[in-house]
């Protein structure tokens, strides 16, 4: 083991350029992966917040009596998708509008705004299809004039999240493959630089496992280094976005960040195992 460590550190010292190259390529691949991940994460986060505010507002025709409205509200609150139902009278609607749009408070006159039944859905039922379905059922009440919810932007946001997720996955896998190839190539150079030593090791009876070990450790360390660097780059770019776009982003949780570094280590080990394996088989 001591020898493995010594060989590895010697290898890293002997070729600082090669080492820097492999670490940065792994870092950049994971960085790209991380950026997409961060975008997807933030969209998901935004969606969650938006979803919490998803509200269906069913406007009640003027002159509907309060009992019908209360009965309908009771019916609606029994829908399995529904979390809560609020009845907003004309007066309440006016008060709310005045409060939300202070600048225009004198524009609103009593009686202009209709009464409404405001419906909030349970978590897990806030996707566009479910919202549509519930809205449809609300429309079927004869005294409901109109049903409003943010259908357009809700659909857009969902689509965006799916695109970000798929793009992140596809690009991430592509980048991971590129990293494996690059680390494989750099380890292969390291293997060739030590070809003489390896052939002597084989001659005097060192096992393939023994020969492989320092290269695997080298790949592992480069992978971890690349992973940490990628994490740093991702974090720095998030801070930049925060600062200049004045947009509050969320960062990866500690376990997700650790997973990223582990992915770097995995890429490093797989790349070097492939390179050394190829060399040993070719002998």
């Amino acid at each position: 083991m001591r020898r493995t460590v010594r060989d590895t550190s010697a290898a890293l010292e002997r070729s600082p350029v090669l080492t820097a190259l492999s670490v940065t390529t792994i870092a950049f691949s994971l960085f790209a992966f991380g950026l997409f991940g961060l975008v997807a994460l933030n969209i998901r986060n935004a969606l969650q917040q938006v979803e919490e505010r998803v509200e269906i507002r069913a406007f009640v025709a003027d002159g509907t009596d309060a009992e019908s409205i209360a009965a309908a509200a009771g019916d609606i609150s029994a829908f399995p998708e529904v979390q809560s139902v609020d009845i907003v009278s004309k007066d309440q609607a006016l008060a709310r509008a005045r409060k939300e749009l202070k600048e225009f408070s004198d524009v609103f006159e009593a009686g202009v705004l209709p009464a409404s039944i405001d419906v909030r859905l349970k978590p897990g039922f806030r996707d566009p299809t479910t919202v549509d379905r519930v809205a449809e059922r609300l429309r079927s009440y004869p005294f409901i004039d109109d049903v409003r919810y943010g259908q357009d932007w809700l659909v857009q946001l969902y689509r965006l999240r799916n695109i970000a997720g798929v793009a992140g996955l596809a690009l991430g896998l592509a980048f991971a493959a590129v990293s494996v190839i690059i680390i494989g190539a750099t380890i292969r150079m390291a293997v060739l630089a030590r070809a003489e030593e390896i052939s002597i090791m084989r001659l005097v009876g060192a096992t393939d496992g023994y020969i492989r070990r320092p290269f695997l450790l080298e790949g592992f360390l480069k992978g971890v280094g690349g992973g940490l660097l990628a994490l740093l780059l991702t974090w720095a770019s998030m801070r930049l976005v925060d600062q200049y776009l004045n947009f509050h982003t969320v960062f990866f949780s500690a376990s997700l960040a650790a997973l990223g570094v582990a992915a770097g280590a995995f890429i490093g080990v797989v790349g070097s195992a492939a390179a050394v394996g190829r060399h040993l088989r070719g002998l």
Partner: protein
């Protein structure tokens, strides 16, 4: 003593080797090497000497026939068994194959370090073999500071350090002048005298003639003469 003495520590039974591009390198070669024996392999370039030696340390496997070396069998030997066997063989080449950026003692120690030898044993073993080959005074010299003859001695010391039962030498004097050749050959005789078998491929017929050792002559992948056999068939 044991059965291995009678049947040989190295056995080739009707060994044929064909290379994909260059065709048949060995054809139905059979011979045995007894414990402690010294055997010369001679014959023109391309006759198959190196191929036989590479088969002894399982760098190559026969296309047909069977090679057995100290109980390891060419049909079944795993990679691990081959590694273990090589720790009990010594191998030297014409071009020495030393690591240039290391000292003589580091080169010898290398063979022990990479085969999981306990650290405490390495130092004493290295100085013992360096003394045996007459290079104790050059232990800390880098291999590129040594003469060809000295480098070959370091290589032989490395081959000896695990106490091999056989030393395999592929033209060990091929790169040496006459004086160095005599010195290295004398060393090989001493090693053999202490009980290690030696199989040595060589072009140096002078050397072969002046030593009274068994000689196997190859031509075009076949044994055309074996001094241990009463009479080779044909002529």
């Amino acid at each position: 003593m044991s059965a291995a003495d009678v049947s040989g520590v190295i056995r080739f039974d009707r060994v044929t080797k064909e290379y994909p591009r260059s065709g048949t390198a060995l054809q139905e070669v059979s011979f045995r090497v007894a414990k402690g024996e010294f055997v010369f392999l001679t014959g023109p370039s391309g006759a198959g000497k190196s191929t036989i030696l590479r088969m002894i340390y399982f760098e190559e496997r026969p296309t047909s026939g069977l090679v057995r070396v100290s109980g390891v069998n060419s049909e079944h030997a795993s990679k691990r068994e081959v590694s273990k066997l090589r720790r009990r063989l010594g191998i030297v080449f014409q071009d020495f194959r030393l690591l240039e950026d290391r000292t003589a003692e580091a080169n010898v120690a290398f063979a022990l370090e990479v085969t999981a030898t306990p650290r405490a044993q390495i130092g004493p073993k290295v100085s013992r073999v360096l003394t045996q080959v007459g290079l104790a005074s050059k232990a800390t010299a880098y291999s590129n500071e040594l003469s060809g003859g000295e480098q070959q001695r370091v290589a032989i010391a490395r081959a000896l350090v695990n106490d091999p039962f056989v030393l395999i030498a592929d033209e060990p004097t091929g790169n040496l002048d006459e004086r160095a050749t005599r010195g290295v050959f004398q060393l090989l005789r001493e090693i053999n005298a202490s009980g290690t078998a030696i199989v040595m491929a060589t072009h140096d017929l002078d050397l072969v003639r002046h030593a009274d050792f068994r000689t196997i002559e190859l031509n075009r992948g076949q044994i055309v003469y074996d001094s241990a056999e009463p009479r080779a068939e044909g002529a």
